[in-house]
């Protein structure tokens, strides 16, 4: 994700998702912060952190207390699974991940 902001107070970045249909799967995210940004505590050390399912509160990916770099702040993120996949029927499983940036 790339966030561009000229707000000197900075911004925060969060993530949430819908459940997989037809059966949920343990989707998770790993993230690293750009220069000057602080990654959310759960992501320290490159851990894969389960993404909460809405309407649960979004997981804080990180925040920055200053405006972004000229080309935007790149939050390197990877999607994966936080645990072994459960035994589910073969087929197509879909979910939607929402990244939210809010000005501080």
């Amino acid at each position: 994700m790339t966030v561009s902001s000229n707000n000197a107070a900075g911004y925060s970045l969060g993530v949430a998702r819908t459940a997989f249909a037809p059966t949920d799967l343990p989707l998770a995210l790993a993230a690293t912060a750009p220069a000057g940004g602080v990654v959310g505590g759960a992501f320290t050390g490159g851990a894969l952190v389960p993404i909460p399912i809405t309407p649960a509160t979004a997981l804080t990916v990180g925040a920055k207390s200053a405006s972004s770099a000229a080309g935007g702040d790149v939050w390197a993120t990877n999607l994966g699974f936080s645990s072994a996949l459960p035994l589910v029927a073969t087929g197509r499983y879909t979910a939607t991940v929402t990244f939210t940036a809010v000005a501080r």
Partner: protein, 247 residues
């Protein structure tokens, strides 16, 4: 002149490689939303404009919603953002109009988030949505009246526990937060006997009532005093009432 704050969010292409889009450069992200200002203040009655631009390679549909922050107050009647949905081709802009009416709003400061969410483009197994939050500070004129009344206490005795119910009425003109703001103690002979954990709804809107439930599972019986305290608002004024009762 004060410069407007802008906020833009781009999705990377790692999960959903972008198809070649009409007129879009190879480096252009598939979904990219821009909004300005990202933080604004409005005094009621008043209105503001919010600019939204699609900097991505694809047409996007953006849903617009609002959410109160911190104060548990509804915004439905007095805070309006129009239109509630936008359809933007790549590179196109639109203007949202935000209107705040004082009627129906509680006096004081409100923090509202205007959330702009792109509809998920077709992806493979995981689709990505981008959401930008515009922070809006609203000032509603009027004198703030905080008046919370603690009513009578009713006790219900069971074999293992005593349940106490205290009625609470909000006679002020602003919503009062209850959860985390209520403390209750049992005292006997002037000394604390037990701290009670109140079960109560999160907030109480003006003119409404609620019941505060207190449970005591201890063995002490006889005459005691139950002290109930509610801390009101950011100023920390305290409403307290003491009840003499027999457990």
């Amino acid at each position: 002149m004060r410069s407007a704050h802008a906020l833009a969010l781009f999705t990377v292409l790692a999960l959903a490689p972008a198809p070649s889009a009409e007129g879009a450069g190879a480096e252009r992200p598939r979904v990219a939303l821009f909004v300005s200002p990202a933080h604004l203040t409005v005094a009621a009655p008043g209105s503001r404009k919010i600019n939204v631009r699609n900097d991505g390679a694809e047409r996007v549909v953006v849903d617009v919603a609002r959410r109160a922050v911190a104060r548990q107050t509804g915004t439905k009647t007095w805070f309006q953002v129009l239109p509630s949905r936008l359809s933007l081709r790549s590179g196109r802009s639109a203007v949202l109009t935000l209107r705040v009416k004082p009627r129906g709003a509680e006096p004081g400061e409100h923090q509202v988030l205007v959330l702009l969410t792109t509809r998920a483009p077709r992806g493979n197994h995981v689709t990505l949505r981008v959401r930008l939050g515009v922070r809006v500070s609203v000032r509603v004129p009027g004198r703030i009246v905080r008046h919370l009344a603690l009513g009578g206490l009713r006790i219900h005795r069971t074999r293992g526990a005593r349940f106490m119910f205290v009625s609470v009425a909000n006679r002020g003109n602003v919503t009062e937060q209850l959860r985390g703001h209520v403390t209750a103690w049992l005292l006997q002979h002037g000394r604390p006997l037990a701290r009670l954990r109140p079960a109560v709804r999160r907030a109480l809107s003006p003119g409404s009532r609620a019941l505060l439930a207190l449970r005591y599972g201890g063995r002490v019986r006889g005459l005691v005093i139950a002290a109930v305290r509610v801390r009101l608002g950011p100023g920390g004024r305290v409403v307290e009432r003491r009840y003499r009762l027999r457990l």
